[in-house]
Symmetry: C2
Subunit: 313 residues, 2 copies
């Protein structure tokens, strides 16, 4: 019998879907799969696409897939749904439209809900990228629907980040400078046919700094018509070359791996330890004291830190 | 010299503002303040107001403040801004409008950004509620702007949750049933003058279950005109009486305290331990092996869990 990881390597779409379900589930089954495929990863170029809702990220990703296909690249897409349960329905149309590409060979699209904890989502997303990487995808795009903490965290765990905005975001451009300005490697002002995008482009560009010899370009697109999309892909290819030329890819990857290992290890430690903590007599005593207001929660937490430190004994 | 916690107890507005800044900062200064004020807390009734953006939560909270003032209640409001840096600007108008109440005696309003981690925000919010409680507020309202994971978590750490919706949310009502249906104690269909709210109200009500002898009411309001707001406050008072009559308040509080202590203790443990982990020679070895793809990240994480368990030795 051929194992799942072998089928993944052959690019079998059903095996891919199944493998992603395994990594979403976490635990030992996930660890074994990642253990098998990890040596075959690292070849794909990963791109995060993020920005406020309503700027046309899905449409842009759609057209980027087409452009990459024209260049004979195999494309994997992971679309992260927002953490809000409310907006789920409204976005389904977009997702289904994107799925059209799934029928095509050389494109694989998967969406992932962010209902759970942010750490768990980021971990599942990273491992999904590994599955797509092992399956031979040349380009892997992570698209986030919203622009919350979860989405930013996920979109940053990639080689290149594309931040999508639109003309006349007004106050939001100010807010943007404080947040997304730092994580973008390529900036796109989409819907550039609605209003003259020059002022928005200028505002964005004036807030950007050169980093490691790369000055993030600010490009305009009309994604719905495909206008400007080849230039976005060109910029990403230039950025990839820049990373390779300056040996920055491994350096950046190392920082991400350190971050990932810390998060995963403490999360697993928490999961494995919390039940043991609750069996301790100190636990019951402390909770009762806090409920009766004989002990405050902050002092209680510092006492529990000591209990946790001793659980490994 | 009179200490900060004493000034807080006297309801001094400047002391309140300062105390909240202290709890937002966390650490030992926060622990000391909470230690001092905690015995004087537990009197206020805390209400979370949550729901999708655009349903008029801020306006409703505004009118609820007015209604509570008519009933001679002192009201503290904590408004949680969304985690997205993008929407910050657009909502500022609402916040400033709300601040009008701040000039009035008996009302204190504070906003808090959710830029950081969700756990940190929830902790700061809980401690802010304690400060407002110790300051003698009778009612403390936590209003969340969005409906993301962070907002839901914060809004749930209260005695009563009000979920605000509006007529014809369509698909969102379906999504809502999966998410917010479970956390609401009172449901409000606001903007009931725009479209007939009957169908939306029926859809919501049909998805709700009785819990501990309480069937959540579904009310309609036109917050902008104040219509229906006294009934919302009446429902909250009835719910409060229900909790007291059935001794549910302490039972519910105990569950929240257990959750809080687990989160705070593991978060502090993480913070105090992570630097020590990074000085271990195993750490450097494991990171290098993962970067070179000799070891996969999931197996690496499970090795690090063992290292973390031994750090307390």
């Amino acid at each position: 019998m051929v194992g799942l990881s072998t089928l993944v390597s052959r690019g079998d779409h059903r095996a891919l879907a199944k493998a992603i379900t395994v990594v979403e589930g976490g635990g030992e089954a996930c660890r074994r799969l990642i253990h098998e495929i990890y040596p075959r990863t690292g070849r794909a170029f990963t791109v995060g696409v993020t920005g406020p809702t309503g700027t046309g990220k899905s449409t842009l990703v759609d057209k980027m897939i087409e452009e990459y296909r024209k260049r004979a690249q195999r494309v994997g897409v992971l679309a992260i749904d927002p953490s809000s349960a409310f907006t789920g329905g409204a976005l389904l149309g977009d997702r289904i439209r994107m799925m059209d590409h799934s029928l095509e060979k050389g494109v694989f699209i998967r969406s992932m809900a962010s209902r759970g904890d942010i750490g768990g989502l980021a971990r599942a997303a990273r491992n999904t990228v590994r599955v797509l990487d092992a399956a031979g995808m040349d380009i892997i795009i992570i698209e986030t629907v919203g622009a919350g903490q979860a989405e930013v965290e996920v979109a940053s765990a990639v080689d290149a980040v594309v931040v999508v905005l639109m003309p006349q975001l007004g106050d939001e451009v100010q807010a943007f400078k404080a947040g997304f300005g730092e994580i973008g490697d390529v900036f796109v002002v989409n819907k550039a046919d609605l209003v003259n995008p020059s002022k928005t482009m200028y505002n964005i560009a004036s807030g950007l700094k050169e980093k490691d010899g790369w000055r993030p370009p600010v490009l305009k697109t009309v994604a719905l018509k495909g206008t400007g999309v080849p230039a976005v892909v060109d910029s990403l290819e230039r950025f990839r070359k820049h990373l390779d030329d300056k040996d920055l890819r491994e350096k950046r990857a190392q920082g991400r791996i350190e971050q990932e290992l810390i998060e995963a290890a403490f999360s697993d430690f928490h999961r494995e330890t919390v039940d043991r903590l609750k069996t301790r007599k100190e636990w019951t005593g402390i909770v009762n004291q806090v409920v009766k207001r004989q002990l405050d929660p902050e002092t209680a937490a510092s006492k529990l830190v000591k209990t946790i430190s001793k659980l490994g004994d």
